[in-house]
Amino acid sequence: MGYHLNFGAVWRDFDLLLSGLGLGLALAIVSIFAGCWIGLVAAFAMNAKRPASRRVAGCYVTAIRNTPLLVLILFSYFVLPRFGFRIGKVESFILTLSIYAGAYLTEVFRGALLALPRGLREAGLAIGLTEWQTKVWIIIPIMLRNAFPALGNNFISLFKDTSLAAAIAVPELTFYARQINVNTFRVIETWSVASLMYVAACYVIAAGLRFMERRLAIPR
């Protein structure tokens, strides 16, 4: 075989890999934050009485969930400029990932909304809050606490999906790993270090989420 492990080339560029990991995390955080807003609006639309808004939200969720993320990324990166939206690759990726996250979070929030007892809304209205105040101060906070575990899982898979940004040359972890791989041919070292970094990051995120879950859980 004649292959000798030599991690030197990878360590030399380890700060690049780390910065890529950081960018991936940042992309995931921004996208889940934006996705939460989209998901909230779409989830309320799906539970609304008007069939038109239900149908629009339903179409959005079905269309995005059944289309490959890579196609969505390429679509917004190459097609939006044709309509005069001059945005960079990072912005276009964040836009795509937010819309993608929004579709998955809609389902999460919709389920969480349906699981809330009806009495909450009635109690809010009974103490004289308006429909909006009830939503903002009662329904959404309780719903978010219930939805937190599912939200966390979505965040982890979004973080892994940021690796696709390498396809449009956003300099995150996978992009740098490919670059180091091509430049140095330290194939085994590069990919094992890169995937270990993803695994480690996912473990840390999952542990952090479990901790927050315990803190946020509704006391019984």
Binding site: T67, P68, L72, T174, N181, W191, V199
Partner: protein
């Protein structure tokens, strides 16, 4: 919309390329789902029933693969396997990554389904004298499969979507064919949309078929 006739003619010119790409996409997805399910069944069984050493090793395998993005798995298996002396085509290397990915999802799913069955089922089966294979085939598997079906359908649609990643390592599936067509005629909107629509139709069909099967095998309430 003056571009519509032009799009129609471009679509007609590239119909065979698209059909071939679609064929490859379907072939990859089906192979990945079938092989991944077979491997994943073993993974699930080991995770639930084996001794702790093999269970521990398989747990590491599952956690490692699930913690790594599919895209990284695809790239790693493409570059890495040839380096350690396994000569594979891009198609085979990509398929290998998808099978690995699919097996961990099926395995975790099956584990969850098996563990959710009440203990009384196993005890009752043992009490009437079934051996373990009989217990599994006649008692546990039918119930577990019913539980695992929704998540399995989800994994199947996930595999169709993940097959797009093979375009990056040069497998001529639907997305790479689309990219090539676009690089010839620059009609990015039309052809990316077409590709997205085809993927949507495949996944939507799988989802619908899955829902129908679910209704068929649901326990009467």
């Amino acid at each position: 919309m003056s571009e519509l006739p032009q799009f129609a003619s471009e679509l007609w010119v590239s119909r065979w390329a698209i059909a071939q790409g679609l064929g490859t996409t379907i072939l990859i997805s089906m192979l990945a789902i079938v092989l991944g399910t077979i491997l994943g069944t073993f993974v699930g069984l080991v995770l639930v029933y084996s001794r702790w050493v093999s269970r521990f090793l398989v747990r590491i395998y599952v956690d490692f693969v699930r913690g790594t993005p599919v895209f990284v798995l695809v790239l790693a298996s493409f570059y890495l396997l040839s380096q350690i002396g396994i000569q594979l085509t891009a198609f085979q290397a990509g398929l290998f990554a998808l099978v690995i990915f699919c097996s961990t999802h099926v395995g975790e799913n099956l584990r969850g389904a098996l563990l959710s069955l009440p203990r009384g089922q196993t005890e009752a089966a043992k009490a009437i004298g079934l051996t373990f294979p009989q217990l599994f085939v006649y008692v546990l598997a039918p119930q577990a499969l019913r539980q695992a079906l929704p998540a399995w359908i989800n994994t199947a649609t996930e595999m169709v979507k993940a097959s797009t990643l093979l375009s990056v390592i040069g497998v001529l599936e639907l997305l790479l064919v689309t990219k090539q067509i676009i690089s010839r005629n620059f009609m990015s909107l039309e052809f990316y949309f077409t590709a997205g629509l085809i993927y949507f139709l495949i996944d939507y069909a799988i989802e619908r078929a899955g829902k129908a099967v679910e209704r068929r095998i649901a326990l009467p309430t």
